[in-house]
């Protein structure tokens, strides 16, 4: 692959002190409609960053600003120490894989891939070898002479990728490139794309509305909500330590518990657990898989060690309904105070005569989150 892509960019995972890309207070208004506000973000060389958000969250606009198709209303974008946002799209060392690929229908696969190099007036021998290397890399050499309309969606996707990468951009933008593929192909392409990114070491900014896709592929996820950054963190952190109620709900499922914190104890209805959160009202996120069906043979821990922090919190709840998901089951249970919780379990729970279950969770899994106010 080093023959195809600039070796300078192949050194992937290191994060330099100097970021490759830096967005400084970027904002975008369309008339009175504010699409993006105050976006500040730094992206390291070789990073795979996913911009995740619902439709209308501004993620595509953000991408278009980086590509140069839209002008930011305020703020600056810098890449490798140079101002990027003042450059026209054709002078940026940024390439894009478009949502529906935007392959040129009047050119063959090969001509599509060669387009950027031809425009750059590279010598034809170089064009030839780089194009064939790029096509080989995405396993499309056999289709070099085909017109885009004659190949499948997955193949078009590969061509679009080759067409962008062959120019050795410093930054590759991908606008929901997998959204048009069916589920199986999509999963396969996620793996291939991630592997390709590792191999070429080019910085990827990947836009998607699919949180699972974001989790699988990214080094970091930037969650966008109504034009503002909600949280930027690694998939693991954003899942286990969501900063806001919105993040907790958007990424995976969660139970949000409205609690009152006093003297290091959070109380939410009939539930209470020790916490380090400050006193006052607090909102806690508790993932469904963090609630377990308790082993009823073991005695509750607090009876034996009443003074120390309990390892688990126990509760009894009535089973409301149960949905089979293959590898696990999703249960909805109702506590004594009427609060409904969702939990995920891989075993069929034992239910006593009253239709009740004995459940437990670790207090550490109840994560304090910022409440998210409703936004338009």
């Amino acid at each position: 692959m080093a023959t195809t892509f600039d070796p300078a960019f192949t050194n992937s995972t290191q994060t330099n002190a100097q970021p490759l890309l830096s967005l400084r207070a970027v904002a975008k208004h369309f008339g009175k409609n504010i699409v993006l506000r105050d976006i500040s973000l730094e992206i390291a060389e070789g990073e795979f960053l996913t911009v995740l958000g619902e439709s209308g969250s501004g993620k595509t606009t953000l991408l278009r600003i980086l590509a140069g198709f839209e002008q930011a209303t305020a703020g600056e974008v810098w890449m490798a120490g140079e101002r990027l946002d003042t450059q026209p799209p054709y002078r940026r060392r940024v390439n894009t894989v478009f949502q529906h690929y935007a392959l040129f229908p009047h050119m063959t696969v090969e001509e599509n891939v060669a387009y950027g190099l031809r425009i750059a007036k590279r010598p034809s021998s170089e064009i030839e070898s780089r194009v064939s290397d790029a096509l080989a890399k995405v396993k499309m050499s056999a289709f070099a002479r085909a017109k885009p309309s004659k190949i499948s969606g997955g193949q078009q996707q590969r061509v679009a990728l080759a067409r962008a990468l062959v120019n050795r951009p410093r930054l590759l933008l991908l606008d929901e490139p997998l959204s048009a593929l069916d589920a199986n192909l999509r999963r396969q392409m996620q793996g291939e794309l991630k592997a390709l990114q590792r191999e070429v070491g080019i910085t990827f900014i990947f836009v998607t509305h699919d949180q699972e896709e974001a989790m699988v592929m990214s080094d970091r996820i930037a969650l966008l909500r109504s034009g503002e950054l909600e949280q930027v963190a690694s998939p693991r952190e954003i899942y286990s330590r969501p900063a806001t109620a919105y993040t907790a709900q958007f990424i995976g499922h969660t139970n949000l518990l409205k609690a009152d914190v006093r003297n290091g104890v959070a109380t939410s209805g009939a539930l209470s657990w020790p916490t380090t959160a400050p006193a006052g009202a607090g909102l806690f996120s508790l993932r469904p898989e963090c609630i377990r069906v308790a082993d009823s043979s073991a005695p509750p821990s607090e009876t034996s060690l009443p003074t120390t922090v309990p390892a688990t919190v126990r509760l009894r709840a009535k089973l409301r309904d149960q949905v089979f998901h293959g590898a696990n089951e999703l249960l909805r249970v109702e506590c004594a105070d009427g609060q409904v919780l969702t939990l995920r379990t891989s075993t069929r729970p034992a239910i006593d005569g009253n239709g009740e279950l004995e459940l437990e969770f670790s207090p550490a899994d109840a994560v304090l989150v910022r409440p998210s106010e409703e936004r338009a």
């Binding site: 590509a67 140069g68 026209p88 054709y90 478009f98 935007a102 229908p105």
Partner: protein, 288 residues
């Protein structure tokens, strides 16, 4: 549709009625053309039934008729030049309507398309007054300017319709791959609009060849073919006109077939004519 056809008895009767009506309308549309062609071979001249003494005489006379062929040449000159003007300004006009915002855009759109729906006499006369005010002598040049201006509307509607089908992401992809606006226009925009542009060019060419209302007022010393025919009609009927019309009809048919071939090689059947009238009316409204 299947349901309608395969339905009960009244449907079948209605269907038969429709077929008869269709045949009648086609007969009405083709009767004059058939008469025109048949009498171009009639030794007795135009009129009289049945036609007799079939002859090629009128074609022989036609081929020796200098003024007619001069006017054909003039018409070709006018049509090609008008085509160049209409495309040179109509394509940018379509692009501007599609992708630029400027004050007076709504007025501009209506103005560009107006000559298509406006009776030719109004366009012709208003240009006549312009040329008189700036002391331009009437000649083929004034006709070219008139046709070019009136037919910008055709180029604009056709290309605008083509632009609606063009995925703008393609142009973005081109810019993204390093091509500037000029390169993108020639390498991506124009090839994608190829069918619309060729369609517009053909249409402009034929409309110009046939145009008489605007030319009527802007004519100088040199006649275009329709004006030459017009002049002769005023003097009386002659089968020579049948002959030249037949020849032009045959050429037009060849052009249609050629165009059809191009289409099939291109992208199915988008229907230029229907789009044109539809877009014209719609364009004079606000929907373009």
């Amino acid at each position: 549709m299947e349901l309608l056809v395969s339905g009960s008895v009244p449907v079948v009767q209605k269907s038969r009625w429709l077929t008869v009506h269709a045949l009648a309308v086609f007969a009405f549309l083709y009767l004059p053309i058939a008469v025109l062609i048949i009498y171009s071979f009639n030794g007795q001249g135009v009129g009289g039934f049945p036609p007799r003494n079939l002859t090629l005489n009128w074609y022989r006379i036609l081929f020796q008729d200098g003024p007619i062929w001069d006017s054909v040449l003039n018409s070709l000159t006018v049509a090609v030049s008008a085509m160049a003007i209409a495309l040179a300004f109509g394509i940018p006009a379509a692009l501007a309507l599609d992708r630029a915002e400027f004050p007076g855009k709504a007025l501009f759109r209506r103005l560009v398309l107006l000559p298509l729906i406006l009776p030719g006499i109004i366009t012709g006369l208003s240009l006549l007054m312009l040329f008189r005010e700036v002391n331009v002598k009437l000649s083929l040049v004034t006709i070219i300017l008139g046709h070019g201006t009136a037919l910008i509307s055709v180029a604009t509607t056709e290309v605008f319709a083509g632009l609606q089908k063009l995925n703008r992401a393609q142009e973005e992809a081109s810019l993204d791959l390093g091509a500037n606006y000029w390169q993108t226009f020639w390498r991506i925009t124009v090839p994608n609009l190829k069918l619309s542009i060729i369609g517009a060019a053909l249409l402009i060419f034929t409309l110009s060849m046939d145009e008489i209302a605007v030319s009527f007022f802007l004519i100088g010393r040199d006649n275009t073919l329709p004006l030459e025919i017009w002049g002769r009609l005023r003097r009386g009927i002659t089968p020579e006109i049948n002959a030249i019309s037949t020849i032009i009809f045959v050429f037009s048919l060849a052009a249609i077939v050629l165009w059809y071939r191009l289409r099939v090689g291109g992208q199915g059947t988008s229907q230029v004519g229907a789009e044109l009238t539809e877009n014209t009316i719609a364009g004079c409204d606000s929907r373009v």
